[in-house]
């Protein structure tokens, strides 16, 4: 009995676990509340839609969470989504085979990630400013790729077969009854989950987020870890770009607008601290699901968009408030102990 209690305590004590569990409870409450207003929310087709549409927020959330755990931020994510959607679509429209187009686009995304990492890690630019710059650059590239136009249908030269395969793989197809989009994001989520919790790189990511100087002294290569983190986030953004391109069957210059902020929201709702050093990707999963459930549910019950924004805004602020309160509570506790 005591042993069990200790295990429970240990589980609860994992940093960020409380917030992650709270987010999951919140998710269930919100979902049931919407379902009571409109039972169609519980329909199988809606659950499938929900899983599919939360995938893009999950990936962006994972990307932003990784960066936030290092104590930085990546504002270029949304633009990167648009840039990669445009690059991959333009390549396919001009007849480049699907696999090659995907590969080239990934390289372009990684290049932006390395640039972000160098600016923030090596040249010590404030991450807010550095990635604000690359945000504009990436969106500018998205515009220029196809001369200020959205692209034509991606199947125009490749033929219907290849284009369909691309669209099926990233958006419209199903595997084992669930849309591929969700499987893709779930696999990436699990990969990043293990990367953060079980590998040395993961520990370094947490370390430089809690204390850069201390981790530098203990031999963590801060520059390298920062670059790696920005590469991870860029790759996630590129995949979201593929998903949006597959969804529309074309490249849209404005794709992914504001997604970087959706990523922050998903992470923060799930208990990832914007101050760095703590947070679990499990929480980000719940955060992305909360975000999408709100969007889906408010749409299904026919609420106006203004209300949607207000509800989401309140939840984001409350989630961060909780983080701040818990942190300051801890400090008080430590102070009390030392005075004793």
């Amino acid at each position: 009995m005591i042993k069990k209690q200790n295990e429970l305590k240990k589980f609860w004590k994992i940093r960020g676990m409380g917030a992650a569990l709270t987010a999951f409870i919140g998710l269930i409450v919100i979902y049931i509340a919407f379902g009571l207003i409109n039972p169609m929310v519980f329909s199988g087709q809606n659950i499938l839609n929900l899983l599919r549409s939360m995938s893009k927020y999950l990936l962006i959330g994972v990307a932003q969470s990784c960066v936030m755990i290092t104590g930085n931020i990546d504002l270029s994510l949304g633009s990167l989504v648009g840039m990669s959607a445009m690059i991959v679509a333009t390549l396919m429209v001009s007849g480049v085979p699907v696999i090659a187009a995907i590969f080239i686009t990934l390289l372009c995304g990684i290049a932006i990630g390395i640039l972000n990492g160098l600016l923030v890690g090596k040249f010590k630019l404030p991450p807010f400013i550095a990635t604000l710059g690359t945000m504009f650059v990436a969106r500018g590239i998205a515009y220029m790729v196809n001369n200020n136009r959205n692209t034509d249908n991606i199947g125009i030269k490749l033929g219907k077969g290849s284009a369909d395969a691309f669209q099926q793989f990233f958006y419209y197809g199903k595997t084992a009854g669930i849309y591929n989009t969700f499987w893709i994001s779930l696999i990436l989520f699990i990969a990043f989950f293990f990367l953060l919790s079980k590998t040395r790189t993961g520990r370094h990511i947490y370390a430089i987020g809690s204390n850069v100087e201390a981790s530098k002294l203990s031999g963590v290569d801060v520059v390298r870890t920062t670059i790696k983190t920005y590469i991870f986030s860029s790759v996630c953004a590129v995949i979201v770009g593929f998903i949006l391109c597959a969804q529309a069957g074309m490249g849209n210059m404005e794709a992914g607008n504001m997604y970087e902020m959706y990523g922050v929201a998903a992470g923060v709702i799930g208990g990832v601290s914007p101050l760095g050093g703590s947070g679990l990707l499990l929480g980000t999963f719940a955060g992305a699901a909360v975000w999408q459930t709100l969007e889906n549910g408010l749409n299904m019950i026919g609420a106006q968009v203004g209300i949607q924004r207000i509800v989401i805004g309140i939840i984001v602020v409350l989630a961060v408030l909780m983080d701040v309160v818990i942190r300051s509570g801890k400090k008080i506790k430590i102070a009390n102990k030392s005075t004793k």
Binding site: T22, A33, N38, Q45, N49, N153, Q247, G249, I301, G302
Partner: protein, 329 residues
Amino acid sequence: MKRKFIAMACCAALIGTALTGCGGNTTPTTASTEASSAASTPASASASGNVKIALITMDQIDQHWVTMNEGAQAEAAVKGVKCDFISPDTKDDSKQIECVNNAVSNGYKAIMVAANGPDAISSALKDAQAAGIKIIYVDSPANVKAEATFSTDNVSAGKQAGEEMLKALKAKNVTKGNIGIVNVNAATQSTVNREKGFRSAFTSSNFKLLDTQYCDGDASKAQSIAENYITQGVVGIFGANEGAATGTGNAIKAAKGSKVIGVGFDKSDTIKGLIKDGYLLCTMAQNPDIMGAKGVDACVDAINGKDLGGAVTDTGVTILNKDNVASAK
């Protein structure tokens, strides 16, 4: 221990807001469904056989779409069906596709769509059709065959704009000179068609139509372009959408005592003010309320099994000038 309490309190607060947030939503929903005499919860059946129609426009903010929704709601009340306005918050392909997907799983019998672009939404609409849902286009069609389309014939509306300008110039005994055109961009089909129609009105006249300048729909850019035209000594300027018309009117206003004739397209409170004060001659106001109303009629017909054959109906434009601008909605 203290920490746990705080966490729990926050947790309760979070859930509390989530609940009140949802509770608050029922008010506007009820308000919007009152017209169709439906019960207070959207899920329960409406008066006539549980027929639900979805209206998905490009966004919910633009006056154009709000007016379209008003037209649709009024007609839905007459027909005794329920029409929900479930558009995305901003003009975003991905979000519009989600709205179509939601409409499919939410049990709508027909969807009225104003497509963001002709291609992006196509696959989602095909999925909807495969699920037995009738598609009606309002304002902007996509590349999938639908039951019917209700939109503005932009070529003919543009020609009317040209004819109005020609009439006004003749009335002032101006028979030659340059005319400038402020358009949105070269890619938007609707505004390109307006320009085509406008130019066609001048083919047998002595006026010279200058090269088109593009403002991306931005009123301040449009104003600089129009000011340049005025400096060049044009006799007339055509602004091909709301932003372009606003910029054109403001430029004529800024050039005090200018005799340039400005003609706009689309309406807004600003444009109506510019017409009232005499800076713009007139504007071609589209009729989104008619699109919405006729769209609902077509949805009901299609649901009842009537074959509409994919007909395209021009809902026309209303010419707003100094005489009728005060009475326009």
